[in-house]
Subunit: 568 residues, 2 copies
């Protein structure tokens, strides 16, 4: 944490530009869950709130992660003055390593947020970065902006919302929040500050839409602690708890419950070990002395005295929990009598993976406690009644639902309308759409480039639609490669045609098919030569057509057909 220092008064006072135009430009997180990134611009000053990543949808074959397209900022590089971070989740800070490789600007965030970011930057080999710790209610001046950080509850400690006082009015960005009345760390959402902002007048509110479809009020994180207690009380063997590494509140409750029931705790999974270390060091996690043990030590204790905290609550194929469920974990073998608590909800798209782990654990004889059948997880995002309270506290003139897929934004907009915000003052916008505000008006003002940049291994943006289309075809029906060598002068085939396939059919059982395919290729080549078609592209296209037609007839499959011609 050596790189962190506190600096609340960076670039001097408010510039005297008055009747200007304020622009709000979402670069991520609108029309999607993930890669949150918001740009706020007034004349020559741009500040950015959050730079997140998104985990790829299934059809992005082979892609590791997705980050926002930052080309608009690159075009306005000299105007970018700072990044403000709301909290330490991947969808809010995960794009920072890529951002900081291109922009050398100060970063502001709370201690835990910057602690987690710091670890991430080290891993990415970024040695120097200006990371500036702020605390709730701190005030910061950047160019024409006066910025305030406001404590909100969420599923990670040290989360803040952000108020930006601009020459045209105050805008509030809630970040991710919930109004948990009994947060685990006792730090309740700062209702006073929000109400004060509302009382003084808010021009624009941008608010978290993730759970806008859910009626009611999101349960307190503390309710999960109660379920932990009930489970610990009756468990006869080991207890294995899988949850998100970053949910420090959840880890804290597991740790306290383990302590209460006189069990030792072992931590498994790289990200879990990382977070526990950072949160503990920074004082966000209270771990009783002697409670933690090494995973190698668990067999020294009776099963009834052991808790294992692990990653893998999303059924990720390489995670510790998955390896345990598949009986492939080196140190932990699940046995009858173990209780496994999956303290998370499957992220959309992961349902099947998680279900498979649950089934597998049951087969090993474990008792499995999971979301569908018990109150073992609560959301970190606000339900409809909380959204209403936020709007009523801030009483904004303009409302912009953020953080959500399109239907969540639409639903949140409906809620705002019900609460009396004028329909033409509500903007349901997508990434890249520019919102422009003056003291008296708000309007859509065009578009800037926005979208997704795909990260695959070390490559950032080198996998595009053509590569993905090819991967999709390869995934579907495999590939057939036809190779032959021609004599340049005579035009004779001197080697081949040979056919090699991968991912198409099980070759040993399809010899006849392959033989006939070769025959079709030979016939196509003969037709070419007989008709004097000697252009490679013409030959390739004839081969592709003849072979494609034949294979589709025989198999109803359309593998990629790749003719390769060599010349000597």
């Amino acid at each position: 944490m050596g790189g962190l220092y506190i600096n609340n008064k960076l670039t001097g006072g408010v510039f005297p530009i008055k009747d200007g135009k304020l622009q709000i430009i979402p670069l991520g997180g609108l029309g999607e869950i993930g890669k949150n990134m918001m740009v706020i611009k007034y004349h020559d000053t741009i500040i950015v709130i959050d730079v997140g990543l998104m985990f790829p949808e299934e059809e992005l074959l082979g892609i590791d992660m997705v980050i926002p397209d930052m080309s608009y900022l690159l075009e306005n590089k000299d105007k970018v003055k700072a990044v403000l971070l709301t909290h330490g989740h991947e969808d809010h800070i995960g794009g920072m390593p890529y951002f900081l490789k291109q922009f050398d600007v100060p970063v502001y965030g709370t201690r835990l947020t910057l602690g987690l970011l710091n670890a991430k930057l080290k891993e990415a080999g970024i040695a120097r970065a200006s990371l500036n710790v702020v605390a709730p209610r701190d005030v910061l001046n950047i160019g024409p902006f006066k910025i305030e950080f406001i404590k909100v509850s969420h599923s990670i400690p040290d989360t803040v919302g952000i108020a930006v006082h601009t020459p045209v009015g105050t805008i509030v960005h809630t970040g991710d929040f919930k109004l948990d009345p009994t947060p685990v760390d006792g730090k309740v959402t700062d209702f006073y500050k929000l109400a004060e902002l509302g009382e003084k007048g808010v021009l624009v509110l941008m608010s978290d839409s993730t759970n806008a479809e859910r009626p009611g009020f999101t349960l307190s994180e503390k309710t999960v602690g109660n379920t932990f207690e009930e489970t610990f009380r009756v468990a006869e063997g080991r207890i294995i708890i899988a949850t998100f590494a970053s949910n420090v509140h959840r880890l804290q409750q597991a740790i306290y419950t383990a302590h209460k029931f006189k069990r030792k705790v072992a931590i498994v999974g790289r990200s879990m070990v990382n977070v526990v270390e950072i949160a503990n060091e920074l004082g966000y996690l209270d771990i009783p002395d002697g409670l933690l043990i090494d995973l190698d030590e668990i067999n020294r204790y009776p099963h009834k005295q052991v808790v294992i905290l692990t990653t893998g609550s999303q059924g990720e194929p390489m995670s510790a929990l998955t390896r345990m469920a598949m009986s492939e974990h080196r140190q932990v073998e699940i046995v009858a009598g173990d209780t496994v608590i999956i303290s998370a909800m499957p992220i959309p798209g992961n349902e099947k993976l998680v279900a498979r782990i649950i089934d597998q654990l049951f087969k090993l004889g474990a008792k499995v406690i999971y979301e569908a059948v018990s109150g073992i997880h609560v959301s970190g995002h606000p339900s409809q009644e909380e959204l209403k309270i936020m709007i009523n506290l801030l009483k904004p003139k303009y409302f912009v639902p953020i953080h959500g897929e399109f239907r969540h934004l639409i639903k949140h907009a409906e809620i705002a309308r019900e609460l009396g915000i004028k329909p033409h003052n509500i903007f349901v916008v997508e990434n890249g759409q520019v919102l422009e505000f003056t003291k008296k008006s708000g309007r859509l003002a065009g578009k800037v480039p926005a979208g997704r940049v795909l990260v695959d291994g070390l490559g950032v943006g080198d996998v595009g639609n053509i590569v993905l289309r090819d991967r999709k075809q390869l995934a579907q029906d495999g590939i057939i490669i036809v190779v032959l060598t021609l004599n340049r002068e005579s035009g004779d085939i001197v080697a081949g045609p040979d056919i090699v396939t991968r991912g198409f059919v099980y070759v040993r059982e399809s010899e006849q098919l392959i033989d006939e395919a070769k025959q079709k290729v030979t016939e196509a080549l003969e037709r070419c030569f007989n008709h004097g078609l000697l252009e490679w592209s013409a030959i390739k296209s004839q081969v592709r057509d003849a072979l494609g037609k034949y294979l589709f007839e025989k198999t109803r499959r359309r593998p990629m057909i790749l003719p390769i011609i060599m010349e000597i």
Copy 2:
């Protein structure tokens, strides 16, 4: 329907084998949702209940459908005497075309079930099959078995459960069911028959576990009709309803509601058109005269007088609804004012596809009514209180939860235990496990081959693990093909090495990478020749290693590397 005839007295009376052993062998549907298939065997007689298919999980790249492994039955071909069908859903009859290509045995089912099967067989080019219509309470003798069909409610009409009276006792297979107190067709589950069986004594109950995790009682199908009414009452424009084609009750309610509100109905999507035709012809769908219009006619009516019934409730990429949402449908363009009702729940794995369609429809200005925000769908399967009633009605000695993933079976077993079934009389088994019953005992008795057969296009079982592994690698990072032509005698390279890639990187922006890769190949080849390594397999392995290492260093990707050597 010409091929159907009624025959209730097929193979004579009950054989005089008395103190024998009855075997129950699940070949599908246990430990999974789908491809249901149950074998019941007594000495030389085998009957099969249902032969379903399953839609593939995502990791089964390119696979179209999955059917049960029937090799156990092929080994006992002469013993297989009949197939009994519980209802017309794909997961119960979808495997029949494959089954009937190998087994020439009579098929028994209700009229609608056989009507739907008949269409399926025609499509598969199966001209002759012995399809025998039965009705609830019909009795059938097959070898030592006396079989009764029992009316149950489900999301398709004409669904039955099956009681098999055997020399060792009565076994009951519920099929899929719910206890809907107000079914749309008025045909309530036959409580009397179930209670009578229970009173006389049931040896084994096999019961539907799909919803075993859900507390309470599944809502009646009629509640969806109420939601339709509320929606129709306020809709200003067209109403587009997407649902499962096979949910004839749902279609009936949509049709009645349309009629009530003086709207015409157009049917879209091949499977929807099929089912409406068959159900209408057989009298399972009541369509008022003049109600149906052709899709081409919809523009002749004001929007307020049009309803479109369509497939695509699962967001299937090629479905009519998806094409409408993507503005790619030839006849239906979604406009502001349209109301789209997605009357289905996403099947696990389809959540993202459905969500995308909803978002897209919102963007086109439609009002979208979907499961997460309204009572627009009810399940066709029993919740926990219904499962309890079924067990209490039948009071079985032995209990086997069927139709469900492992955790559903476990939950259902827990419920049975709560109701007083002895724990050692409850069998949670997987496909292929043999259960053996005598009058006095029940036990696990070994395993038979069971599993999945993958269907890809016309190929049944020709795609196995190797092909899938290749498809997975291709999907992940693409392929690199290295081709070269050698002179057999001199060992000189006379053409190449050339490198061709697909699905790896965007080649135009990675020329340097490819050039260097070619260099690495050349170096590897030189090393081979210098060391006298002239075996093709050795050369290929050297090329693969050198190239793989280089590419992983540069890109952190592991494409498939395929060296092809030709000789002249």
